[in-house]
Subunit: 256 residues, 4 copies
Amino acid sequence: MKYIAEGDDVLLYLDRERTYQLRVKAGEQFHTHKGFIVLDDLIGKPFGSTVVSSLGISFYAMRPLIRDRVLKTDRRTQVLYPKDIGYILYQLGIGNGSTVVEAGTGSGALTMSLANAVWPDGKVYTYEIDARSQKIAAGNIDRSGLRPVVEMKLGDITQGIEERGVDAVSLDLATPWLVIEHAWNALAGSGVFLSFSPTIEQVMKTVYALEAKPFIEVETVELIMRRITVAENKTRPETLMIGHSGYLTTARKVIP
Amino acid sequence: MKYIAEGDDVLLYLDRERTYQLRVKAGEQFHTHKGFIVLDDLIGKPFGSTVVSSLGISFYAMRPLIRDRVLKTDRRTQVLYPKDIGYILYQLGIGNGSTVVEAGTGSGALTMSLANAVWPDGKVYTYEIDARSQKIAAGNIDRSGLRPVVEMKLGDITQGIEERGVDAVSLDLATPWLVIEHAWNALAGSGVFLSFSPTIEQVMKTVYALEAKPFIEVETVELIMRRITVAENKTRPETLMIGHSGYLTTARKVIP
Amino acid sequence: MKYIAEGDDVLLYLDRERTYQLRVKAGEQFHTHKGFIVLDDLIGKPFGSTVVSSLGISFYAMRPLIRDRVLKTDRRTQVLYPKDIGYILYQLGIGNGSTVVEAGTGSGALTMSLANAVWPDGKVYTYEIDARSQKIAAGNIDRSGLRPVVEMKLGDITQGIEERGVDAVSLDLATPWLVIEHAWNALAGSGVFLSFSPTIEQVMKTVYALEAKPFIEVETVELIMRRITVAENKTRPETLMIGHSGYLTTARKVIP
Amino acid sequence: MKYIAEGDDVLLYLDRERTYQLRVKAGEQFHTHKGFIVLDDLIGKPFGSTVVSSLGISFYAMRPLIRDRVLKTDRRTQVLYPKDIGYILYQLGIGNGSTVVEAGTGSGALTMSLANAVWPDGKVYTYEIDARSQKIAAGNIDRSGLRPVVEMKLGDITQGIEERGVDAVSLDLATPWLVIEHAWNALAGSGVFLSFSPTIEQVMKTVYALEAKPFIEVETVELIMRRITVAENKTRPETLMIGHSGYLTTARKVIP
């Protein structure tokens, strides 16, 4: 059992649409539209416990997972969906000790997911061209506690990658085809390349560029996620769904 | 750069349909339909390198990722797809140090993926009712090198879970609704429950059982993966696809 | 070439989101937010022509198709989508001269589509339990000019179907399983049964009821429609889509 | 009730995978792997009745629908799926009396569906460049009895369309973008253009060509059909499915 301690992040859960991320500090309060929470009440309780606001409303004090943190990142930048992040992590084949190059950092959503996967002995080198985005991402990553395995780099990855011998390169940017050669140079032999792109034109250019270099297992997929409503006599896929986020192209470097 | 050493597993890649997993031993040969490989030729080369068989056929010597190992597990037991495994790992919210209960072990495909995620400080407790399956899984897990973080348990998880305070419970078995109460008892507060089921009747029973216990964020989704053929004037989703593997139901334990 | 005449329905098209259905009457005007149209201007022009409003805005004067009329039916009742209506018409196997029983009438959207398919020698018998819905549907059907082949019946089809020897029975109602026996009695041998239902529980009950009677080719499908954005460097499936409207179950009557 | 008469086509149904199309002739037999049927036994029975072969095996004598005839067309040419044909018929907005230009004829599968829709007062002009295909299609169409409303034309539709003022143009050929101008010339104002294409490159070229001419409501969709297995405790989408047949692009002619 894990007990809530000072300095911990907690996700206050009211219902599916209303959750609040806070950091526990002794002697402080956290205000919501449903009253405030006395943070001392949280300390020493197990995660998952009930806490009651000043207005008598019950919340659950959840331990934030990476997927919770991803949902709380700045929404001005487009956020990847769980279906895509899970597939990316699995296809990259990373684990503790792996090294990954990522671009762009964006809000840090994927960065945190990658960092969690390579923790504690690996490293994520994440490139971002826009200083403002990088600053927002830095805040998210710092808060997640994963900063020790993240190296944030301000710069244009289409101009080159400095790292060598990395296990994986993961791209979510407008012109991935301009990074193919740099990715080949950066990857260890057998390393994994991945690119996420919303449009089919991006996919075409990326695949053609990959096929012009020593990459094998070049493959593009898209993932469609349907939520299912499960309730007595009402079980059915939800009416409205996200029809498309992006295509996922993967490949592996070989040495001819 | 990683160099191939004695004792390493290597995935010989001829083409997308023909790959061979072998363990490197000095002085030995590995025989394929395209001639044999002298394993001494591999030692000291970087992963991803080319190796030529006795018949002059070129192979690539790839480093096996978890996803390669999953594909090489015994096919007699149904194997989860990357789309599902990635989503499971991400939704479970696990990382180095996490503890997970899994059932059934099956071929060990998901077990290896979970073990890789919690490596090196976590633990996967995996229940299997069938001794023969467990033996096959043990072989796969041993070979992957992930055995130190896996505890294999022979027994019927519908009769109870011995562990307490675990971070996640992941089920892929015929009657998940019989495990809901045990899962609640085993989970730490805020811990994640996940169940993979092919049929909607299994989903209904599981969701109704979850809703009768203190679980929040009960949610069912299905993931559909489409492979895209990308080639000049031939770009299109592939004609034949896997239309359904299973539904994924998740929930989180709370303490009322 | 077809020329617009007095009494014709015209669909004024401003853009994809703004269309207006009107009936041409000499000497009258039709008012829109973009000014009014002098209807005399339309008479004698070919359909598809441009007409200019009093504010100088151009509209196209389109000939309304059944699918346009369906979109203009009362939206308070749920409307079937083109993907579903097209499939229904094709699976029912109807054409000029066919006889069809339908329930419920709803807004008349499917009724018009069926009537168009059996025109001019067939007949659609459409049952509706709610008088208010029937009245709205009657207005839509009258306007479409298809009334001569439609017989509107106020009543509860779960209590029985009066017709015999019909070519097809098409259901879009809450409890289709209560109509299976009546449908068998009403159908000619070899005739087609179809039911549209949003939930899987409805589908299960309907299929089990069909399998208990002399029906063959019992089959359930769902259709998913994705709109594709096609534009230079922006080609992709649309982000938001309708994930589910309903399941379509078909069967054919045999005489054992 | 419809009774089987000499000269009628009958679909003998053994099970979902084994059906046989035959024409009833007095005094003749029809041989199957399950024995022969005496065709005199069929005459005078209602469609949907049971008939027993010389080996004592029961068949159902079904009335062939257009969709049955489509399935029985020559399979060497690719066949459209019900999901696509239904959508095409509905989007074209045709009915008795409509005129349609189609290319290529292929096996005549869509031709029969179009002909059934415009019967008895309309006309389908169907272009085919390959004489051998046309001959096979002619056989299928003749057999269906729909020939009176079909005019078969041998020639290359990319060289021009002879008809004028038609209600709809429907294309299923390799280079639809070469037919856009001809289609505009052939269509009546407000008439509907439709093109079915497997690849996204075909779609792009077609859409760009449509947008360069006076067409509105240019829209591309794809339809995905999932079959659902419905059976006690086994209800689920089928494992294997057709992931893609083609994209459907529609538009309507305007007169600027």
